[in-house]
Amino acid sequence: MRLGAPLRYGLPLLIFAGLAALLWQALGRDPKLVPSPLVGKPAPAFALPSLRDPARVVGTEDMRGRVALLNVWASWCAACRQEHPFLMRLAREGRVSIYGLNYKDRREDALRWLDGLGDPYVWSAHDLEGRVGIDWGVYGVPETFVLDARGIIRYKHVGPLDEKVWRERIAPVLAELSAEAKGAAR
């Protein structure tokens, strides 16, 4: 009993095609992107001194009640400089409120950055030791979290924001959130 020709030649070919497809689709992925287990969960609470006014405590409580972005940034981070003009534009257009988490940065460096390049943030919290960063699963600055009105993390983007990322990733999430809000109001 011998295997028929279709099976003899077809089977290896099929296995090859399957493997090729599997490997091909994985080739386009960025191994640096680690999916966050925090998406869909309440944002880890924090209360930190504000960057501009160390006596003032800012934190997750202030972000409740409306959709917000939390942008993790640092003056030592080159990609943050790259994304900064885009954040300035977002802030100018008032599309969404942007909060900052200044990560492992010296206060004077961070303030010099904001004064020199502009400050797109409602406030920036000063996470000098990076403890809050660990709670938020931060591993590569810049990172941006989308929070809904109830303070739940709905999306996380690792890497600089730009027009393309905004259009393809963030804007759809915001649209979904505003649709949800309308549905709830009705």
Partner: protein, 165 residues
């Protein structure tokens, strides 16, 4: 002379890069069990910045912070599960070099065994088929066997004088 200089430079370069473990800062724990747990944990948890290194090997600032965090938890008497849970809650299964066995990971664990099993089955099928197809595997003809025995016996007795044409 040039070669010697090159060799010297090479030795210097290697000597500088080699001790990856120097990345670990010395830490003290109240009990040897905690010390062992700490080292076990940083050995098998993965650094998110240098993704092919564990926390023990990585020089990344985040790895250092996470080592601090783990050391503190261990000193506070937290167990293995608690520390691993803490990191998984923040960074996901990605930090584990040994992923948990779950519905979406069973293929990862069982895959190699399934492949070996499939290979063994295929090997058995091929061997059996080859055996069935080959003439040597058929039971020998008793007549030919008897002749062969006679020839062998005759060979021994006759001193092997004549050859077959």
């Amino acid at each position: 002379m040039k070669a010697m200089l090159g060799a010297l430079l090479l030795v210097l370069a290697l000597g500088r890069g080699a001790p990856a473990l120097a990345a670990i800062e010395p830490r003290e724990f109240p009990t040897p069990e905690q010390d062992a747990l700490y080292h076990e944990l940083i050995d098998e948890l993965r650094c998110l910045v240098c993704q092919n290194q564990n926390l023990a090997e990585s020089n990344a600032p985040l790895a250092r912070d996470l080592r601090d965090e783990i050391a503190e938890m261990v000193r506070a008497g937290k167990g293995r599960e608690e520390v691993v849970g803490f990191l998984v809650a923040r960074y996901g299964d990605f930090v584990l070099y040994r992923p948990p066995l779950r519905r979406d990971t069973w293929l990862l664990w069982a895959g190699p065994f399934l492949l070996v099993g499939a290979g063994l089955v295929a090997l058995a099928v091929v061997l059996r088929r080859r055996q069935a197809a080959s003439p040597t595997a058929a039971a020998p003809d008793p007549e030919a066997l008897a002749r062969a025995r006679a020839l062998l016996r005759g060979d021994r007795a006759g001193g092997g004088g004549d050859r077959a044409p």
